[in-house]
């Protein structure tokens, strides 16, 4: 079916006029109508806008103009990236009626590239969560098992790609929010190096950790999207000026002599033995392809969770102070302005967001700053040094993207239990390095993801290893069964 195809395949079909952008867009819109009432990936679907854009692309094709790699390709974005005039909720009640007055830089870049925005995707409220259960609007379901969560916080972004409701999507990753849902749903998800993709117009959660990245069906597709969205942006003062490569140049089917390190902390305590076994099998595949694999250690890994949750919530408590019911968003009625602030925020934010604001405010408050926030920042230095030292010996580090496959709805109702499930992803954000999750097999019928971690601005090497692995395996070609009967059973 056409909606199953990769970006590069769709590009060929469009360029050779075997399918029109309008037909392609309608195929996705129809599939969204068929499946999304059960999967609930989309918060907003932009039927008319998408069709209008598609017909503009078709006119361009008719004129015989050259077609860019993403031109006419239907895609969707997590609902924390601003889209001018298109409702952007961050899956929060407090932004229920927010229509951004400007586009995020990634929105502009994808529009300039000619991609067709199908809609905005569900997520954990303000990207706080690991299951998308914290959305104020709906629960997104995992297409491989409708009783399971899709992961989070970019759950809608992962499901839209896994269930072919979009050719690709953009997510954001503060502590694993691209890689973990990509792993749970069996798609490719990259968290780029901090500073590689502009955060301008990304609704902030934790500014020193947030990074936007692509979720795709193949490694090549991922590189194509990075070509469009990455690179310096003057509108983001943390954007880095670097020599942006053509990422598709790294799609080389050869890893002979490449040095891969296996941090033992990513295979031990807290990791489901079946997941560890599955990833070990992938390691053997890579070894067979000529990679030089050996064990290593990231000794401060166990401290990453507390350090992350103190730093991220501290930054969040500051970032979310802007939601005061004055300039945009929800406002509760009260007789004085302080009462209005307090009531607006009480009614507008969900439980997890309030919990994190409370934790972060406490960690920053007078008398506790040194013990919590400053201490966590020092630990962040040690975690970063672990990676620096490992990368003196290795080109790439490898481990599972998540400690378990997708879990059931409600299974992790204790907040701390949910936080602990981020152990394999948060260290990467603290260090600011790039990491990718790619399909790596199945445990109990659910996909698992192999995570490759690289040196800063070395996404290319990750793509090379990921591409080589993909050429030798068929995990990325397997699709969830979404026949009518399966959906009907799940909805009961």
């Amino acid at each position: 079916m056409i909606f199953e195809k990769s970006i590069s395949e769709l590009h060929e079909l469009l360029a050779h006029k075997e399918v029109s952008a309008a037909e392609l867009t309608n195929a996705y819109l129809e599939r969204i109508r068929d499946l999304d009432q059960d999967l609930q990936a989309y918060l907003t679907v932009l039927e008319e806008d998408a069709q209008k854009l598609a017909s503009e692309i078709d006119q361009k094709i008719a004129r015989g103009e050259e077609l860019g790699a993403l031109e006419g390709i239907p895609m969707a974005m997590k609902d924390n990236m601003c889209t001018e005039g298109v409702r952007t909720t961050c899956a929060s009640q407090i932004l229920r009626e927010f229509y951004p007055p400007y586009d995020a830089t990634v929105t502009t870049r994808l529009r300039d590239a000619g991609s067709i925005l199908l809609g905005k995707l569900n997520m954990d409220e303000f990207a706080m969560g690991s299951s998308t259960e914290n959305s104020a609007y709906m629960k997104t379901r995992n297409p491989w098992n409708l009783d399971c969560v899709p992961g989070g916080s970019s759950g809608g972004a992962a499901v839209s790609v896994a269930a072919d409701l979009a050719a690709f999507s953009l997510g954001s990753d503060t502590g694993g929010s691209i890689r973990q849902p990509a792993a749970f749903c069996g798609v490719v998800g990259l968290k780029p190096t901090y500073g590689a993709v502009s955060r301008f117009g990304l609704i902030a959660y934790a500014s020193s950790l947030d990074q936007i990245g692509p979720l795709t069906k193949t490694v090549r597709d991922n590189a194509l999207v990075m070509n469009a969205i990455a690179g310096y942006d003057a509108m983001d003062s943390t954007s880095v000026r670097y020599d942006k490569p053509d990422y598709t140049k790294f799609l080389i089917n050869d890893i002979k002599g490449l040095k891969i390190g296996l941090p033992r902390e990513y295979f031990g305590e807290g990791i489901d033995p079946e997941v560890a076994k599955g990833i070990q099998k992938c390691v053997e595949t890579l070894r067979g392809l000529g990679a030089e694999v050996s064990e290593c250690s990231l000794p401060h890994t166990e401290y990453a969770i507390p350090a992350y949750y103190l730093i991220a919530t501290a930054e969040a408590s500051s970032n979310l102070a802007r939601y005061d019911g004055v300039r945009y968003g929800y406002r509760a009625e009260a007789s004085d302005v302080l009462g209005m602030f307090r009531k607006t925020r009480a009614e507008g934010f969900g439980q997890e967001v309030k919990r994190r604001i409370m934790l972060g405010t406490y960690a920053l408050s007078s008398g506790y700053y040194d013990a919590y926030y400053l201490k966590a920042q020092k630990v962040r230095t040690l975690i970063k040094q672990d990676f620096d030292q490992a990368f003196e010996k290795f080109d790439v580090l490898l481990g599972p993207a998540a400690p378990t496959p997708a879990f059931k709805f409600g299974e992790k109702s204790n907040p701390l239990t949910m936080y602990l499930s981020d152990i394999t992803t948060v260290p990467i954000n603290l260090a600011g390095i790039p990491a990718i999750s790619i399909p790596a097999g199945f445990v109990n019928g659910l996909p698992i993801g192999m995570q490759l971690m690289g040196k800063p601005f070395n996404e290319g090497t990750l793509y090379r290893v990921a591409y080589t692995f993909e050429q030798t395996t068929n995990y990325h070609t397997l699709k969830p069964n979404l026949s009518g009967e399966v959906l009907a059973r799940g909805s009961r």
């Binding site: 007055p101 945009y328 919990r355 409370m358 406490y362």
Partner: protein
Amino acid sequence: MAISREDVIYVAGLARLELNEQEIQDYTQQLNSILDYAAMLEHLDTEGVVPTAHAVPLHNVLREDEVKPSISHDKTLRNAPDAEEGFFRVPRISLT
């Protein structure tokens, strides 16, 4: 117990959050459990370690102070819960 019920009420005040009784109880219990876990950081010697605020070393990002187009007044006010004569309108700020 790292955090008391009074601490939770005080922090909620700093964060401009009105909490109900159930939330005060839940957050007292949950923040304690999270901070108990975070106490493992105390066992780590960080003497002389320089804190990291940003993974990528940041320097001052400066540019010429040029006037550039910005979002119009009307557009800015379009998302306002309450606006009047080009201003954001809010409930009274002081009692006097």
